[in-house]
Symmetry: C2
Subunit: 139 residues, 2 copies
DNA sequence: GTATATTAATTGAGGTATCAATTATTGATG
DNA sequence: CATCAATAATTGATACCTCAATTAATATAC
């Protein structure tokens, strides 16, 4: 095995190991799972959106979307209602409570990310984001 | 929100999204989960190792190690036996079948990784690995 | 030497993700 | 307009991970 191959193999385990650590830690620090917060943030931007579009933007399986939204609804964070013009679709939007609570989550998230990226220069952050996007495109 | 903050926030979702996609794809391409292959590769290097050490090297929860090894044992890939000098410890090593089958997995893994890292120069791969390690240390 | 603390492994509970199959509704075709 | 195809959401099955609690064996301390 060449040195390059060694380095490449490391990346896979680093990536997976990192995510396995980050996800639970994120939830403990912020009080919400990262996916669920991503959903809420998308609802912030769009005010009203159906689950399919949500799924595309968050880039997650439809089954997961359904379950997250059910839970968010049960928690009083979002409201769901059918599109009267197309009864297949379900629209989702933030509840008043959701709007209120999301700001706290967002600031916790920023603190968390800055901790993860401590020591990274702005340029390094940019390069890292670029690398990750390129890997995403390779899938 | 500044541009830097935007870029930082992206990294978290990219990281998690990437791993969520990679893990199932890895298993479909190679025929084994990445964690389970990591365990087998460690056993390749050490020939005999107890579960605690395995856990430290793979950097995964002990509960997960136990379950993976039970399954690998049921699949005939590894053999487990207690340390006679300390009955708390369980040693693990590859079975003959494990030794035979691992080479195929390893070459599938290399193909998979090269696909994920298509278009990455050697230098970029090195920098990426370094970034991921730095993030790991920040946790 | 007996009580207490530590260590290794396991089990149980809870959460998230994927894939595949199903239901319900709408669109398209002949 | 009736059948067949496509789309949206849901449910069921399976797998992985973490954390917390438990069991069993060994070390340590008094």
């Amino acid at each position: 095995m060449t040195y390059k191959e060694f380095e490449e193999e490391q990346i896979l385990s680093l990536l997976i190991g990192l995510t396995n650590k980050i996800s639970p830690k994120f939830e403990r620090c912020t009080g919400i799972s990262s996916t669920r917060l991503a959903i809420l943030q998308m609802l912030c931007e769009r005010s009203e959106i159906n689950q399919s579009q949500l799924q595309k933007h968050i880039d997650i399986d439809g089954a997961a979307i359904t379950r997250h939204l059910k839970q968010l609804e049960a928690d009083g964070m979002v409201i769901r209602y059918k599109n009267p013009n197309d009864n297949r679709e379900t629209f989702v939007r933030l509840s008043d409570e959701g709007i209120e609570r999301i700001e706290g989550y967002k600031s916790e998230k920023r603190i968390f990310i800055q901790q993860i990226l401590a020591g990274f220069s702005e340029e390094e952050t940019r390069v890292l984001a670029d690398f990750l996007k390129r890997m995403q495109n390779n899938i």
